[in-house]
């Protein structure tokens, strides 16, 4: 199963977005605290240089690990028609010695970040996971307790939905329609096309906060 990862730009009105997502999803938010380690292959290893991410979920009582490979941006005629950047991801759960494993096969730590925020998981034409996090860097290796925000006030919104070859179009269509609901607060675009900040976002946010999301935007 290949996961489609839709990269979204940063936004500022996180509380309003939370209200909006709560209303759209109908599910409670989940806490997110993920230590993301980005590893790169040593020189000469591999037909091409490669990168792999190890995610350690620190929100649960027992940390759990996931291996994530993020593919290149989708290209071709289909890609042109979609207004957002789509990347494929493949993930696997792994035992806690996964970092030692990748070090052992010729990968080195390139950088690490701690992502803190919230997520909503819900079904809406596809199985959505919308994650809103701030990126935090660590002053010392693996010092997650000492992490500080890289860009205070700016959050990263990521939307993922699993898809296979036989339902890919349906999933993309479901995600594209869902993103329209987020338009009042954030503008989804490909890098280089837009700043990502919606001029009316401030007003939309204020409206959401005052009505608790019940009012349609």
């Amino acid at each position: 199963l290949t996961f489609f990862f839709l990269w979204v730009c940063t936004m500022q009105h996180v509380e309003a977005l939370e209200v909006l997502l709560q209303g759209l999803s109908g599910v409670p938010k989940e806490r997110v605290r993920v230590h993301e380690l980005c590893l790169k292959s040593v020189p000469m290893l591999g037909a091409v240089p490669s990168e792999v991410r190890l995610l350690c979920d620190l929100a649960q009582p027992t940390p759990s690990w996931t291996i994530r490979h993020v593919g290149g941006a989708m290209r071709g005629a289909g890609a042109e028609q979609i207004s957002i950047l789509v990347r494929t991801i493949v993930e696997s759960k792994a035992s806690s010695n996964v970092l030692r494993y990748f070090y052992g096969i010729g990968y080195k730590l390139d950088h690490e970040i701690l992502k803190v925020g919230f997520a909503f998981r819900f079904q809406r034409g596809a199985q959505f996971t919308v994650t809103v996090t701030s990126a935090n860097k660590m002053p010392k290796l693996h010092a997650t307790d000492e992490a500080v925000q890289v860009t205070p006030g700016i959050q990263l919104v990521e939307i993922t939905a699993p898809a296979a070859a036989n339902n890919y179009n349906d999933v993309v269509s479901a995600v594209t329609s869902f993103c329209e609901y987020l338009a009042p607060l954030l503008h989804l675009s490909k890098p280089g096309n837009s700043t990502g900040i919606v001029p009316t976002a401030g007003a939309a946010a204020a409206s959401l906060m005052s009505s608790g999301g019940a009012k349609t935007l």
Partner: protein
């Protein structure tokens, strides 16, 4: 026939105490099928240790309780070539001991080799010396959703999902080169399960080895089940000896502690045993 251990299946958290003495294992009673589907508690892959201790493989979660298994490979007498008759004879033995055939099984081991910029298997001398020249992937027959990868030089066994092999394909740092299947029939003998099989490269019939797995359901402690396994093996060897086959089954201990594995048996132990067994098979064929 086989006498059986207490009817009640042990709860996941406890090891059963064997009420019947380890020998005689086999008595005149008719064979008993295992009671219902095996109650396997999913082994937690999670570690309670923080990232700072990622250097050591943590012990298995205490509530995991997997039946103990022992792998044995067929060691032919010097100068004797391997043939499938040994397989048939071993299966016949299992049946003569009262075993009931319970379907087929297949475990695969995949050899990965590092890729370099020069292309497939090219100038590997350009690779840093600490990049392993080989990785093993293990896909166990009863857990198609899991995938294990073993770094022998570092005594490391990784447990992951089946998607792991897709990750490796995407990374293109290591390429799957050889796929070996261990496959055959399995037999239920009371509290034991026997899997007798051949080792063949994928999509061929070239016999590379013969091996068997003995699984003992009631106990997951390696230490506590050792005596029972040895007793069973003695009976098995005695029965097989009557066939005067040109070789014998040998069990080579895997050093689980070196891999950071605990006394509580798990799928990771089985993956490590397959790697050991394969090494033995290859050495036996070369000898």
């Amino acid at each position: 026939g086989i006498s059986h251990c207490p009817a009640r299946r042990p709860a996941p958290c406890e090891d059963s105490r064997v009420k019947t003495p380890p020998s005689p294992l086999l008595a005149g009673a008719p064979p008993t099928r295992r009671h219902g589907p095996r109650q396997v508690v999913p082994c937690s892959r999670l570690s309670p240790s923080p990232l700072s201790s990622h250097g050591a493989q943590p012990p298995a979660h205490p509530v995991s309780a997997f039946p103990r298994r022992r792998l044995m490979h067929w060691h032919p007498n010097p100068g004797v070539t391997l043939n499938t008759q040994i397989l048939s004879e071993a299966c016949g033995c299992a049946e003569s001991l009262g075993g009931t055939k319970d379907g087929r099984w297949k475990t695969s081991i995949i050899f990965y080799r590092p890729m370099t910029r020069d292309g497939a298997g090219g100038a590997q001398q350009n690779l840093p010396p600490d990049v392993p020249r080989e990785l093993l992937g293990v896909a166990l027959h009863e857990r198609p959703g899991l995938y294990f990868s073993i770094l022998r030089n570092q005594r490391l066994v990784l447990q992951a999902d089946a998607a792991f092999s897709q990750v490796m394909e995407k990374l293109q740092s290591f390429k799957a080169r050889v796929n070996l299947n261990f496959e055959g029939f399995q037999y239920q003998l009371g509290d034991f399960c026997l899997r007798i099989g051949k080792c063949v490269p994928n999509n061929t019939e070239t016999l590379r080895g013969i091996m068997m797995e003995v699984e003992y359901y009631p106990l997951s402690s390696i230490e506590k089940s050792r005596a029972i396994m040895v007793d069973f093996f003695d009976i098995w060897q005695e029965t097989l000896a009557k066939k005067s086959l040109p070789g014998r089954f040998i069990h080579v201990e895997s050093n689980f502690a070196e891999y950071g594995l605990s006394d509580h048996y798990s799928f990771q132990h089985t993956a490590v045993q397959y790697a050991t067994c394969l090494q033995q098979l290859m050495a036996a064929v070369r000898a």
